[in-house]
Amino acid sequence: MNECMSKQGFFSLRACGEPAATDCATCSRPICSRHLSPTSGFTRCLDCTARGVEGDALKQPGVDPGVDDREWAYGYRRGYYASHSYSPFNYGDDDSYYDDYDMRSFDRDLGTSNAGITGTDADGKADWTDS
């Protein structure tokens, strides 16, 4: 089963790691029930919903006991990072958006038959096709 890819935390972020309930309708990431937005009918993740409510997010949360203000917290977080130039620390996986499969194109040795040589292509000669 996929794990929830939402990041929790405010000052330092960490992976949620809970089993995913569904995929977010906007970003397609697997998300657990706790990180789904109630106002979107539990179809979008809190991060995607926070993008839409950013303007209102810096206001105070309500005090209605029946409302879980996690949605407000994510909106506030997004607004705060932008307005205060704050970049949080990340823990666990480097970035839940990119897994090993996505990162393969950044692997220096991939694509060259001779792993020990970099900077030239497979022909071994340095010419205009080499970086």
Partner: protein, 282 residues
């Protein structure tokens, strides 16, 4: 739901907090929010209800006096009707007075809904779900008599008369351990300065104006685990935790609380003073 309905729906523990106006707890953030949010919801609903009950009380007393005086000067059935009406107004005034008294007695500081609830909502994201957060909150009024520290009286008699009262209100204190191992302690102290200026105009009319200013002192102490965070400055070799102390002070009107953004800014500033070790990336 009405304010009185909300008051009735509170649990015994929540009613005890309203009666004492003090919170001294050590529980997970979710539990604290579940406990404190209904109290804050009641307090927000009670403010306009209390005002309405107070105004109705004054109107009913005036009406009952007018109707009673008018009735006493009449004869026959009209006298009976007026006195009965005055009696009904008095009963309604008593009911309103009791409601006002109950709501006034259960009134807590607006800091609960303006600062504590938003701060706990943010803190919950950084603290592990089972990890307890320690809170020590004083929800009594900032200008309570026991908080009065200084009164500056005018040296000479006569007008204009200026009386300044200073109240110290150390109302919010607590500590928590974040999921990344960082220990956090905070303290908020409000210093209230109430200035009463009394003037007498040439016709002999006396007017008093009251101005209130609040100075908020927010102090935050953070201890970062050096396994995860390396201090940018003042690193002590071999230390397990690097302690950072931060403080901020703002002045403003009494109705614009600054405690919540100040607390968030100070904790963010604390994180800006460290860099990541292995395992944490920015």
């Amino acid at each position: 739901m009405s304010a009185t309905g909300l008051l009735k729906s509170l649990s015994d523990e929540q009613k005890a907090i309203l009666a004492e106006k003090k919170v001294k707890l050590n529980r997970p953030a979710d539990e604290l929010l579940n406990l404190l949010k209904p109290i804050a919801a009641f307090d927000v609903a009670a403010a306009p209800a209390r005002k309405q009950a107070g105004c109705s009380l004054a109107v009913l007393i005036v009406l009952s006096v007018i109707v009673a005086i008018y009735g006493l000067n009449q004869e026959g059935n009209l006298r009976t009707v007026c006195l009965a009406l005055a009696g009904a107004f008095i009963v309604a005034a008593i009911v309103n007075g009791r409601t006002w008294g109950r709501l006034k007695g259960a009134d807590v500081s607006d800091n609960l809904s303006n600062i504590v609830i938003p701060f706990l909502t943010i803190l919950r994201e950084d603290v592990a779900p089972a990890e307890p957060v320690t809170l020590d909150i004083d929800l009594t009024a900032a200008d309570a008599k026991k908080k009065l520290t200084q009164t500056i009286e005018p040296k000479t008699k006569g007008y204009p008369k200026l009386v300044t009262s200073v109240f110290m209100n150390p109302w919010f204190e607590g500590n928590a351990v974040f999921a990344d191992g960082t220990q956090l302690k905070w303290k908020v102290i409000d210093r209230l300065r109430v200035t009463k200026k009394t003037k007498k105009n040439p016709r002999g009319k006396i007017k008093t104006k009251t101005k209130t200013k609040v100075r908020s002192d927010v102090r935050v102490t953070m201890a970062f685990p050096t396994k995860r965070y390396a201090p940018k400055h003042n690193a002590v070799p071999g230390e397990k935790r690097h302690e950072v102390k931060l403080a901020k002070r703002t002045k403003g009107a009494a109705d614009t609380p600054q405690g919540f953004p100040m607390l968030i800014d100070l904790i963010a500033d604390g994180y800006r003073k460290v860099t990541s070790q292995k395992g944490a990336a920015r």
